[in-house]
């Protein structure tokens, strides 16, 4: 399609309308392959910083505060705010921009909100594409916010090279985080709203838990206290992000991470394809009575697998 080429050309000239349009196309699953093929060679050099944590922890406020620092240092910022909690089939209200208003007319800050759309291959696949389009559009700092502490958020956070887990004092957040398995993915802990009582205690709790779990020894996640209200600790948070970026690059962890991310991403695509093929085959298998009642599902799966392989061979011949 001619239009896509035109938008791609404009993307590489760092035109933000092209960034916006190409994101929409990819999200709508229109010409995705063509777009990503053109975009990918221009990506992969920028480390992505992810911010997650429970609802209302102050993630967007921190993103805004970090963005302010980064802008003062002259870098441009691309922000993806994902809300994976919106109902799978329905619409969404995406409100993260409310807390990011101070950059609303800064052309060097690009903010994009995403809801769940029941994306084939999951939310994470679409999010990965969006981040790459921003990088190809010239944004040099990439921030990814996602709310929540469930499986889909962890999936999305795997796209980030540096993961910040944001918690609040006096909320029982620490315990929730362990339960949700979020401790394992954190590279940096932030205790935001440190203007409220209980921050030191939460910090001690986290430090203690870090001492107990078998963390990656080469990197011990620091615990940073911030208060966006009192403008405290955000510069220290930025310093820790930079330190972690430097660690990733110097230790070779970046390469390993990249391989892990690639593996996950390839799997997501495969998974989507397999699912699609399975869904189209299944009704036929059932109606052909190829499957006797009372058969072990594991055995059926093996049968289905060989049918799928045959179909694939036929397609390739």
């Amino acid at each position: 399609m001619n239009g896509v080429q035109e938008w791609l050309k404009r993307l590489f000239l760092q035109d933000r309308r092209a960034v916006a349009k190409l994101i929409s196309l990819v999200e709508d699953n229109i010409e995705r392959h063509q777009i990503m093929r053109a975009v990918l060679p221009r990506t992969g050099n920028t480390l992505v910083t992810g911010i997650t944590g429970p609802p209302g922890a102050g993630k967007s406020s921190l993103v805004e505060a970090l963005t302010k620092l980064v802008r003062e240092q002259g870098e441009s910022v691309g922000i993806v705010a994902v809300d994976p909690t919106s109902p799978l089939t329905g619409g969404a209200i995406l409100g993260d921009r409310i807390r990011m208003q101070s950059h609303a007319t800064d052309r060097n800050v690009f903010i994009r909100s995403m809801g769940t759309r029941g994306h084939l291959g999951g939310m994470a696949k679409a999010t990965a594409d969006v981040i790459r389009i921003m990088e190809a559009g010239g944004y040099t700092t990439l921030l990814l916010e996602t709310v929540g502490v469930g499986q889909s958020e962890i999936e999305i956070m795997h796209l980030a090279d540096t993961v910040i887990v944001t918690l609040n004092p006096g909320t029982g957040d620490g315990i929730q985080a362990i339960k949700a398995g979020i401790m394992e993915i954190a590279d940096i802990f932030v205790i935001n709203k440190a203007d409220l009582p209980g921050s030191e205690r939460l910090k001690n709790d986290i430090e203690m838990m870090l001492g107990m779990t078998g963390q990656d020894k080469a990197w011990r996640p620091p615990v940073v206290l911030t208060s966006v209200y009192e403008n405290r600790g955000v510069d220290q948070l930025q310093a820790e992000i930079k330190r972690h970026h430097a660690f990733l690059r110097s230790s070779g962890r970046w390469k390993i991470k990249w391989q892990e991310q690639l593996q996950r991403e390839v799997w997501r695509h495969l998974n989507g394809q397999i699912q699609e093929q399975f869904n189209s085959l299944w009704p036929k298998l059932l109606s052909d009575a190829a499957i006797a009642e009372g058969t072990d599902p594991g055995q059926i799966a093996e049968q289905v697998w060989s049918v799928m392989m045959e179909e694939m061979k036929k397609k390739n011949d």
């Binding site: 929409s24 209200i93 909100s113």
Partner: protein, 139 residues
């Protein structure tokens, strides 16, 4: 599989702090399957248009209770034109006297204006109908 969603920016320009109406509309649009970007109170036209471009919305809905509609709609429209983003539709609601509403629409500053008390289903239907005709969003 189509993953297309209608995307709407609900904006609240001006100095008044009433966003109840805006929130009711936002929820109705969400329930109708749309993605609603809500950017909070006290937005300037510049902020609204920049957000609309970055979020690549199909439509901007402005809620205006402050009486500033005669300046805000033309200003937003002008900014959209400057950005070559006139494909983004502009509608509104709030307290707008009928003769002002008529002139705003006649002069092309708004596609539709809904008075308070309009059933939300009417707004949803209007948007859905327009979007059916308006799928030239990309090219």
């Amino acid at each position: 599989m189509s993953q297309t969603r209608i995307r709407v920016l609900v904006g609240k320009p001006g100095l008044d702090g009433h966003d109840r109406g805006a929130k009711v509309i936002a929820r109705a649009l969400r329930d109708a399957g749309m993605e609603v970007i809500y950017s909070g109170l006290h937005q300037t036209p510049e902020q609204i248009v920049e957000a609309a471009i970055q979020e690549d919305v199909d439509l901007i809905g402005l809620s205006i209770m402050s009486g500033a509609h005669l300046t805000i709609f033309p200003r937003v429209k002008e900014l959209l034109k400057q950005q070559q983003a006139e494909d983004i539709l502009l509608i509104g609601g709030g307290i707008i006297p009928e003769e002002d509403a008529e002139s705003l629409i006649r002069d092309g500053y708004a596609e539709a204006l809904f008075t308070p008390g309009t059933p939300t289903t009417e707004i949803v239907d209007w948007i859905n109908d327009r979007m059916k005709l308006n799928r030239s969003k990309y090219f």
